[in-house]
């Protein structure tokens, strides 16, 4: 139990320190790396709680995909260190406001949240000895099926929206059409023309 506690406090410390450093560091790329450290230690905490499926999914989705895309965008920003040193206190009131709103929302959730009356009794997470992955599957594909599907639809709409907003069809763009290239025969490309002296030829293309 002692080792467990030591490891838990280690990861908890890393999580909190790195998330504070994400917002306090000046260099945006460093901020993303610290965010990755934060995600990794959060997933370690999940694993320590026995939620190994959630821990691995956090690693795969957030660290393996989302943070890579963050890094991808942030890396291309030209970091202007003179501007960075000018101080970020200008945004302090707004940041505090956002933080306050989230805190109030969390507080409201914590106070008013109620489980379904038979949640703990019927919940496969607490009743079966099945592995964590199976119990999550049993839960989200039965009781919470509609919420799960709804979340999927929201993501789908967001994805389509992002594509529609950024997609522009350019007619001037010449794309490679591999079947067209491969199926091109000699007859389509080469034509032998008898050139009459002092008249030349008219090439129609």
């Amino acid at each position: 139990m002692l080792a467990h506690a030591i490891i838990f406090y280690f990861f908890a410390f890393v999580t909190i320190t790195s998330s504070i450093m994400v917002i306090s560091t000046k260099n945006t790329v460093h901020a993303v790396f610290l965010l990755i450290l934060d995600f990794v230690s959060v997933s370690c905490l999940f694993i320590m709680l026995g939620a190994e499926f959630l821990g691995m999914i956090t690693l795969i989705v957030y660290v393996g995909a989302v943070a890579v895309l963050f890094l991808f965008v942030v890396m291309m920003i030209n970091i202007d260190f003179a501007e960075l040193k000018s101080g970020s206190l200008d945004y302090m009131p707004f940041g505090l406001l956002v933080g306050l709103v989230i805190l109030v929302e969390l507080g409201m959730m914590a106070v008013s949240w109620k489980y379904k009356p038979d949640f703990v009794v019927k919940n496969p997470m607490t009743t079966t000895t099945a592995s964590n992955t199976e119990s999550i599957g049993l839960l989200i594909y039965t009781d919470y099926f509609f919420f799960f599907q709804l979340a999927g639809f929201i993501l789908l709409v967001a994805m389509i929206g992002a594509i529609v907003l950024t997609f522009r069809r350019k007619n001037s763009l010449r794309r490679q059409d591999i079947t067209k290239q491969v199926s091109r025969e000699r007859e389509d490309a080469v034509e032998l023309i008898k050139v009459i002296s002092s008249k030349g030829v008219k090439i129609n293309d």
Partner: protein, 335 residues
């Protein structure tokens, strides 16, 4: 109490060493195999001077790298620059913890083994991105951008392929995945998935024909440009450890892991780790042959292949496999 912890730590360290040392030796040998196959395809001899058949060539190279000076560019971001090869190498070794070499022959056997391997191999991209950004130079940066996009795209199809296999197994545990192939290896019913997995593994490990992140002809070896000495060697070892890992994953998912070809007398007497090693080696030789034979893809062709061919095909196979198993009542773990 304390002595108990010490005992556990000592015993676990021994287990880890017993895995990592053979993996590192295997990496050294596999580099030699790679160069040898490459040479034979091109009608050269390849490394054949140092040691018997040139087997010690990698050791000689490693010594050379160790004694070279490490140069850190003045404009680089030093911490991340040094961290990048360390991350690459340690992540490449980390995933080996869950690879089973036999019924009871593994360092750990966790319930979500396949997800663990997938997660660790998806972290591998950070070594390259960190190297590319921290070098503060154009070629490494372009290499890092290419590699980030490439690895994220091919991970999607690898994920769907793993889902197809898991549908047939009903468990995320690697030992269960191997034991589910007792009757038939998944390479036979899921053959198209096996091919797509193999090609995606080539892209995931930046092997030719998908070695665009280091494309020496255009990017002067990409993200590794500014690295020298031991730090370069770490990238190089990490890359080969990753390739071996992908071969191991391929043999566990599709070629029946440590299971013998047929469960009859002369074949099932060979110890199980040897079967897995044999399968890994077989896949690796195909990797090496492809490196020698296939020319490099252009970047847009690479992306087209990933998103417009592999993603729809593997998604279709997931749906097909699921419907097939459901219709014929073959789904595992039905309660």
């Amino acid at each position: 109490m304390i002595s108990e912890y010490l005992y556990i730590i000592f015993f676990d360290s021994l287990k880890i060493l017993a895995l990592i040392v053979p993996v590192l030796i295997a990496v050294a040998l596999i580099v030699w195999v790679d160069r040898r196959v490459w040479g034979l395809v091109q009608l050269r001899k390849g490394p054949n001077v140092v040691g018997p058949f040139g087997l010690l060539q990698t050791a000689a190279d490693a010594l050379k790298y160790i004694f070279k000076e490490i140069i850190i560019p003045a404009g680089s971001n030093k911490i991340i620059f040094i961290l990048a090869p360390v991350v690459t190498m340690s992540l490449a070794l980390l995933a080996w913890a869950v690879i089973p070499f036999g019924d009871n022959l593994y360092v750990t056997n966790i319930n979500v083994g396949i997800l663990y391997i997938f997660a660790v191999s998806s972290l591998g991209v950070y070594g390259i991105i960190m190297a590319g950004w921290a070098s503060n130079s154009k070629y490494p940066f372009l290499g890092a951008l290419r590699s980030a996009a490439q690895m994220v795209s091919y991970e999607v199809s690898i994920g769907l392929i793993i889902v197809t296999v898991l549908l047939c197994v009903g468990s995320l545990n690697l030992v269960d995945i191997v034991l589910a192939q007792k009757n038939i290896w998944f390479a036979i019913p899921l053959f198209p998935m096996f091919v797509i997995f193999f090609i995606s593994a080539l892209a995931e490990t930046n092997r030719p024909p998908f070695d665009l992140p280091e494309a020496e002809a255009e990017l002067v070896s990409g993200y590794q440009t500014e690295y020298s000495g031991m730090m370069y060697a770490l990238f190089w070892l990490g890359e080969y450890a990753n390739i071996l890992l992908m071969c191991a994953l391929g043999s566990i998912l599709f070629l029946g892991g440590w299971l013998p070809l047929l469960d009859i007398a002369p074949l099932n007497l060979i110890p199980s780790p040897l079967w897995l090693i044999f399968k890994i080696l077989l896949l690796f030789i195909v990797f090496a042959l492809i490196k020698a034979i296939v020319p490099r893809y252009r970047y847009d062709q690479l992306m087209r292949l990933g998103w417009k061919v592999f993603l729809p095909v593997s998604l279709f196979w997931v749906v097909l496999t699921a419907s097939f198993l459901f219709y014929f009542n073959l789904l595992p773990n039905q309660s």
